[in-house]
């Protein structure tokens, strides 16, 4: 019953988020964003083994999202009342940036993620963010907001991998990974929404694989990843790690390369430098993660040693990361 209710609330949140994409007024965008967030609260609160910690995470998430919504609504009202376009845009911009968890407004991301279940991490870290990022182009005609988003995105891309290095808990690691990818999504929004949608789709699928594998092993700490990650998923995890490291010809290299190419066409030197810096630090981080994940004190079951479903998932993950990069490059 609890699983059913989680699914119901998730679907309702998804419907509200999709509806948000088709709204023409900023007020209704705000409404649908908040509705989507509200429906997520029961989903995030659901725990098969109730414990006190879920409350902390959900409460933090709710307070931050509420404050962000207040800022957005305040900006809308300010613009309606006294037509102070720049100030109202700045307030709305602050609200959306807080919801996205971009540097320097990212303080809540790790604090919340540590207490979420893995489904919640995927939805909040990947699913919800891609819809909120679609609101960023609304402010592209306000120079103050555009520059603010740009530099926050650059900061997120560079800070995220550095913070990933210091993560002790797996969920904290995923939180900062989410911050990094949010930066890439926002940078991509400057080049066109089609890039955002393509990158979002790829990011969501990759994160779905990653989160599922970590959930199946109930992984808690980075140092125990090798022993907690199931052996039959290790090959898939290795592929994901290599992809997120940025090695060609894996998928994540191709997506970052597309953004790099677009920034080169626009002669955006700061973007190019930040993408390359972020990629380099990311590479070192994920090589470290790869090592932790593949080291184990006990003999692990090997490749294709799980059930049919597990093997299918593992193979799908490998195919997705290894071959979809070429597919994406050809399609794009």
């Amino acid at each position: 019953m609890q699983m059913l209710s989680m699914i119901v609330f998730l679907v309702m949140s998804l419907m509200a988020s999709i509806a948000m994409l088709f709204m023409s007024s900023i007020f209704w965008v705000w409404v649908m964003t908040d509705v989507g967030t509200l429906f997520l609260i029961p989903f995030l609160s659901a725990e098969t083994r109730p414990k006190k910690s879920w409350f902390t995470g959900v409460a933090t998430y709710f307070v931050i999202q509420f404050f962000g919504s207040v800022m957005i609504l305040g900006g809308i009202i300010l613009d309606w009342a006294i037509e102070a376009a720049d100030w109202s845009s700045a307030m709305m911009c602050f609200g959306f940036a807080l919801k996205l968890g971009m540097v320097p407004l990212h303080f809540w991301v790790s604090r919340s993620f540590v207490y979420f279940h893995y489904g919640g991490i995927f939805i909040v870290g990947a699913g919800q963010k891609v819809f909120v990022v679609a609101c960023v182009p609304l402010f592209s005609d306000v120079p103050l907001c555009a520059y603010a988003y740009y530099f926050m995105a650059v900061g997120s891309m560079i800070y995220g991998p550095i913070a990933m290095f210091n993560a002790i808990a797996v969920k904290s690691f995923l939180a900062y990974s989410s911050v990094t990818h949010t930066g890439f999504l926002v940078i991509g929004s400057f080049f066109g929404l089609h890039i955002v949608y393509a990158y979002s789709f790829i990011y969501c699928v990759s994160m779905a694989f990653l989160v599922f594998m970590l959930w199946s092993g109930d992984c808690k700490f980075m140092k125990n990843l090798g022993s907690e990650l199931p052996g039959y998923y290790k090959t898939g995890f290795v592929c994901i790690a290599m992809s997120f490291s940025g090695f060609p010809p894996f998928l994540d290299f191709c997506t970052k390369f597309v953004i790099l190419q677009l920034s080169m066409e626009q002669d955006s030197t700061i973007t190019m430098v930040s993408i390359l810096t972020s990629s380099l630090i990311n590479l070192i981080v994920w090589v470290w993660v790869l090592f932790i994940a593949t080291s184990s004190e006990v003999k692990e079951p090997g490749f294709l040693s799980g059930t049919t479903g597990q093997n299918v998932l593992n193979m799908s993950c490998i195919i997705w990361n290894l071959f979809m990069g070429a597919g994406f490059s050809m399609l794009y």
Binding site: F247, Q261, M264, M272, S279, L280, F291
Partner: protein
Amino acid sequence: MGLLILMALNCFCVMFLNKKDQTVAVVNCFGVWSAFSLMYWGGSGVSRESLSELFCVDIYSSSMISLSLWICGISILVSSCMTNLRGVFNSYLILVTLLCFLLVQCFMVNTLAMFYVLFESTLIPLASIIGIWGGQIERVPSIQYMAAYTVGGSFPLLLIFTTMEVHAGSSFMWFISMKTTSLNWLFWGGCFLGFLIKLPAFPFHAWLPKAHVQAPVGGSVILAGILLKLGGYGITRMMMLFSYTLESFGILVMSFSIVGSVYGAFMCLRQSDIKKLIAYSSVSHMAFSIMGLFSCTEVGMVGAYIMLVSHGFISPGLFVLSGINSEMVHSRKIKVMSDGVRAAPSLGFFWLVMIMANLGVPPCPVIISEVLSVVCVIALYPWVFVLLLMYFILSGAYSFSLYCQLTRTKKKIKMKVFFNEVTLKDMSALYFLFYPLAEVLFKWDLWAMM
């Protein structure tokens, strides 16, 4: 293309053999592929006879392809004799074959974009080999160093070929040349940084000793034998594409290389770990290749490729010997390895031969390369000969010191060796390295056919 198809089909067939036959089968496959690759050496040089629009070969790529196939076969041969390869040996076969496949493609592709992708992709199997079969916990930072240096250094190259793709529509690198007459230092730095790090050139060499120390014997053989040569090949292609007139940038790189050769030889004198010594020796030898390449003369190019190919056989030979010797005494310390040489005196003979080959004693082709490179450098500035003289003295000193330490006859109360004979099977990898060296000696002017 035919070579790649042959490789894929052979690998498919090998999968169905018994596990104990697979090693021999794979080694034989490498022999067949090496023989097949010699077909590319004939003809008019540049060949576009291919089933695909993706590949072009000339004498430089042909020699590198043959070297790749030969060295990867040697790597499997030597690893099959080692007892320190834990886990499933088939995984090692797969990784080496995959690496070889990527390398062969890398030396054949005709676009800079594909070359970059394959250049970076070769890092994955090597990192896996070091990670799985490396001996110590320090292998993790060594891989991070290697990945960061290699990938980070090639980021400017990524920008360059992306610019080509964006503005020119293609990064095809054959039969075209730049129209601009002057290219600045930033551009040349971006072009060559990744390859100089790969070679490795001084002062970007820090990753190599760490990687060699942590890698298993087979990994060191491949790293020293062919992966470093990717850098030299890349430099050749970039010059072919953009310009052979590097002028002041080339002189700067040559200056660093000269200092690097002396530095590498000096560091060899101070080493007690045999693998680190061979790694620093590689640094000083590759400096001569860099001097030859950046002199932008035909003589320099010939000298550079002689060094690249010769070093590709000599350095793996040294690693094979160090692997066998260190297996006997379970230590890489040179002073401890002398126990192994005393237990198996034939090793002393082989050490002498390989050390002399490494030093460049005639008739080893290394001396030809060093002479040609020295000629190129002195033509620019004669007083450089002083530094080169220092290099020759230091290289002689460390070679002599190494041999003396390995073969010292000071009596010990108890010799600690785990086995005291070296069989033909153990040395087979070494024998297969001598023949190509002789070929290089007799065909050293191969790369002069321009």
